[in-house]
Assembly symmetry: none
Homo-oligomer: 146 residues x 2
DNA sequence: GCTTCTCCCATTGACGCCCATATGGTCCCA
DNA sequence: TGGGACCATATGGGCGTCAATGGGAGAAGC
């Protein structure tokens, strides 16, 4: 399978590391990704993670605008200033830095959430709430899967 | 990776020095930069830092316009009058001069913010606010990653 | 002569690389 | 069908290296 699906919660160890679920790692390695690009999501209190093409997509979007415009400036502040390349250790773990903790509220556990072409890091409770809200929103609009 | 990404906050020591994050130093040395060009940002209360090619880019842009125009005049005032060359010490630290403090409000800590082809020095609180505003602006415009 | 900056060295805490253990699952074979 | 070997994943920890920081002493400028 070539996309990120499902979610799972893993523990952060004493050194501040957490294992990326093997299903996600498989998708990454199949895509030949060695360093992952992580950025503070624009909408949710979550870190979005994917291959370098994620960043390139943003940069292309910025390049299309006037580089001195407000919009491009603000976007760079988020995409460059709020993004970073991380690499996994030999066991497929990543360091949960302050960069991640401060933005997500993560402290002892991380919920990995598949989002198709990328995945996200959530504080478990926050994810449960956001998912419940999303479900509620869908119900009210009377939408059905499929 | 060959661009400036992420942000990190370092302390200013008793002598008024602060360490440039090693990730940024790596980008600089990879580009063969020995002296960095610093100038007061046009938009934010931040100092922008990069290699000499940053200055050259501005000068090229000025040269492209009518040299006696208001725009070129103002730009020179900022780029030349508001810019200096600084060099890092052997440990990769830079002196936080009054030039930097007065314009940014920096006093005891510096937040380094990657901006792709350059990076910036911010007062930590000011950066947090600016980033929050940028995120808010994006939300209102209804844009989403991808 | 005193202040300010530069180069050098020391400390300490964090991170990267490596190997070890546990837990749960699957497969094979009797 | 039950037991056991085997395997993969998640997790724990040792240890060397490097980055961030602190401070000393010489060099340069006022």
């Amino acid at each position: 399978m070539n996309r990120f699906l499902s979610h799972a919660t893993n523990r952060i160890d004493a050194k501040g590391r957490v294992s990326v679920p093997s299903a996600f790692r498989a998708v990454l390695s199949e895509a030949g990704v060695r360093e992952v690009y992580c950025f503070q999501d624009f909408v949710f209190p979550a870190i979005s993670v994917g291959g370098p093409e994620l960043l390139e997509r943003f940069e292309k979007q910025m390049a299309a605008e006037d580089p001195f415009s407000d919009a491009a400036n603000q976007m760079s502040l988020l995409v460059h200033g709020g993004g970073v390349f991380l690499k996994l250790d030999s066991e497929g773990r990543l360091m949960v830095t302050d960069f991640i903790r401060d933005f997500t509220g993560i402290s002892t556990e991380v919920t990995f959430v598949g989002r198709g072409d990328h995945f996200q890091l959530w504080e478990p409770q926050a994810f449960a709430r956001a998912q419940a809200e999303a479900r509620e929103g869908r119900k009210q609009r009377g939408l059905r899967p499929g």
